[in-house]
């Protein structure tokens, strides 16, 4: 099969790759953890929280988008619901803010069950339409049901940390809380990715009918990951509510926020673990940059639109997978397809086939397009 030297050089490459990944992760971790101390002023710190919030949302979105391939453009429905649920549980039910956060997210997860059952009956673009419809209808309801949500006036969310905790300190705490949340979410994503459940989900993404034919219970799997995603997204929305302190229907149930989640995950790499985080950092930073420099003009919409269009047209797999394939080019002795066999290897291979056939083993014809075969006797 493979010569001993091939095996060694291959694993050397893998070991180097692993080492590089560990180092990169360590560097990122250090940068993230020291960010609050190195931030020059509270505004920068607050931008950091905003970006962390985007990352939390994108990672939560990617449970559905990355695993099942179902693109939800209206996922802000769940972050919006999470925000309002958290706020209402604090103001109406007098719950401790952190308990309210958890309970709120749980309520949203429960709501996501019937919503998911209805939405997941359709696929592809119909599903996108449904997700948009959901967030639009929630927007209408939130605007109209003023007695519950404060309508267009908005809803004040009491701060979880006492009044005596200063703004910068609040930003720093929320920054770390968001980082902790993202870490947990990534861990969960990784666990699902390597599990059989995850395998089934990915099969659904690639070919749902085929997955069914192989015994994957697609309905149950889709709904499960959908509810998980709703829970995580709602928590991220609740965290934002606690930090920002004020909820407005137009921002909470915004298709724009939903599109950020999609763009960030697509840009970074929808099928990769850290893709959404990378996308959130890039897009989030750019958005804040535009808001600072171009203010109220709607230019950031144009930039967002163009960026999304470019990603869709030229880099639909995202940045991280692109880097991944680039790195793979340097892998020594790749034996991925028969096309790469040299003439000597082919001869060697044919000999092996002949010897195998001479024995009891069933003939193993590797690639019938290139290996001369003897016609099977009927």
């Amino acid at each position: 099969m493979r010569s001993a030297s091939d095996t060694t050089s291959r694993s050397t490459f893998d070991r180097v790759l692993l080492g590089a990944r560990v180092v990169a992760l360590a560097v990122v971790a250090v940068l993230v953890l020291t960010f609050p101390s190195t931030a020059s002023d509270p505004f920068i710190l607050s931008v950091g929280v905003v970006i962390a919030s985007y990352a939390a949302l994108a990672v939560s979105w990617n449970f559905v988008g990355g695993f099942t391939g179902y693109i939800s453009l209206g996922h802000a429905a769940y972050s919006g619901l999470g925000g309002y649920a958290t706020a209402l549980f604090i103001t109406r039910a007098d719950l401790d803010p952190w308990v309210a956060l958890f309970v709120g997210a749980l309520v949203v997860a429960v709501l996501a069950v019937p919503i998911g059952i209805a939405s997941l009956r359709v696929r592809g673009a119909s599903f996108v339409i449904v997700s948009i419809a959901l967030v639009l209808i929630l927007l209408l309801v939130a605007q109209s049901w003023a007695s519950l949500t404060g309508g267009a006036q908005g809803l004040r969310v009491p701060r979880p940390f006492g009044e005596d905790v200063l703004r910068p300190e609040q930003h720093e705490r929320f920054f770390f809380i968001h980082v902790a949340f993202i870490s947990v979410a990534l861990l969960l994503w990784w666990a699902i990715d390597r599990s059989r459940f995850g395998m089934g989900l990915k099969a659904i993404r690639e070919d749902e009918d085929k997955a069914q034919a192989l015994g994957v219970p697609t309905g149950a799997y889709k709904l499960t990951v959908f509810v998980i995603s709703a829970f995580m997204t709602a928590t991220a929305g609740g965290l934002y509510a606690l930090w920002f302190g004020y909820l407005d229907p137009i921002f909470q149930f915004s298709i724009l926020i939903g599109s950020y989640m999609v763009l960030m995950s697509l840009l970074g790499g929808i099928r990769s673990l850290f893709g959404p985080v990378l996308g959130a950092v890039v897009v989030g930073y750019s958005l804040e940059f535009f808001k600072v420099h171009y203010g109220d003009s709607q230019f950031h919409l144009v930039a967002l639109g163009l960026l999304l269009a470019l990603v869709v047209l030229f880099m639909p797999d995202g940045v991280l997978p692109a880097i991944g394939s680039l790195v793979e080019r340097f892998r020594p002795d790749k034996r991925t397809s028969i096309r790469e066999m040299t003439a000597e290897e082919l001869l060697e291979h044919n000999e092996r086939v002949e010897t195998a056939r001479a024995g009891d083993a069933p003939p193993r014809e590797r690639d019938l397009a290139t290996v001369p075969s003897n016609q099977e006797e009927r």
Partner: protein, 294 residues
């Protein structure tokens, strides 16, 4: 509810439904030729409305005259968009990616509109803006009638084009069976481009009709895309008659519900219909054989 109020509401619903029907027909065209869900359709609608308003503001002429420019312009843009952008997408993920791409286009248009015209709400004021006609006790605004007339004329024109002309025949063939159409010598790529152009042309007409009577602002398109999407799903994706029927029904429904529930809540009728359709009959109710299911 008094009889005349009911009649008025009904008529208004039908007038609104006519406009919805034209716009939904356009949306169906994109889907039919290329399986593309064109989220930017309503953004182009608003763009056309802005152009009509701009035209009126700069020239003082009736905004309907702007159609002379906007219809061919939009047709051309639609053709270029299909040939230059949509056809670049990989066939395997076409539907999904086209949603994202057209979404991006919608964002860009909204951003540009806000950039050039600012977020201030705009409204056209014409000599006949305030006048209304009385029919059997019901007061119907003249602008709404004109808008309906425009939409109806466009729909009839579309119908004639599709059924009678050779181009329409080629377009229908391409929609129903692209491979067979190609075997018959039809240049399906070009036809797809024309289909797209046609769709955007309907947006131009619809937008101008809209501008006569509504207050417009850059983010208005979000108010339209939801109902339009709901209409084509309820009607049956890919079926123009289905979309027209659903549009009329939902338009009337919305109108009737406005009285007890108010404008905002009345809009929910679209979404309720959408979810009901998905639960009961995901391929839509009125599409017949033409309806697709994703």
């Amino acid at each position: 509810m008094s009889g005349s109020l009911l009649l008025q509401t009904l008529i208004l619903g039908i007038l609104l439904g006519g406009l919805y029907a034209l716009l939904a027909a356009g949306l169906t065209l994109y889907f039919g030729v290329m399986r593309v869900v064109m989220i930017a359709h309503s953004a182009f609608l608003i763009l056309a409305a802005y152009l009509a308003w701009f035209f009126h503001r700069e020239t003082g002429l009736d905004p309907l005259l702007s159609l002379v420019v906007t219809v061919p312009l939009f047709f051309g843009v639609g053709y270029l968009m299909q040939r230059g952008l949509i056809s670049r997408l990989r066939p395997a993920t076409l539907t999904m990616m086209s949603v994202l791409l057209t979404f991006a286009i919608a964002l860009t248009i909204e951003g540009l509109l806000g950039f050039f015209f600012s977020g201030t709400q705009r409204r056209i004021n014409l000599g006949y803006s305030g006048s209304s006609i009385e029919i059997l006790g019901a007061h119907i605004a003249v602008v709404k009638l004109i808008a309906f007339g425009l939409a109806a004329a466009a729909l009839i024109g579309l119908f004639v084009l599709l059924k009678v002309t050779r181009f329409g025949q080629a377009l229908r063939a391409t929609i129903q069976h692209p491979e067979a159409a190609r075997l018959l010598g039809i240049n399906t790529d070009r036809i797809a481009g024309f289909g797209f152009g046609l769709g955007l042309a309907t947006a131009a007409i619809g937008g101008t009709a809209l501008a006569l009577d509504s207050t417009i602002y850059p983010s208005l398109h979000w108010h339209w895309i939801g109902p339009l999407m709901a209409i084509i799903v309820v009607g049956g994706l890919g079926s123009i008659p289905g979309a027209a029927i659903a549009a009329l029904l939902l338009g009337v429904g919305q109108s009737l519900l406005q009285i007890p529930m108010g404008t905002t809540w009345a809009q929910t009728v679209f979404y309720v219909a959408l979810f009901a359709t998905l639960l009961v009959r995901p391929q839509g109710f009125f599409g017949g054989r033409l309806a697709q299911r994703f």
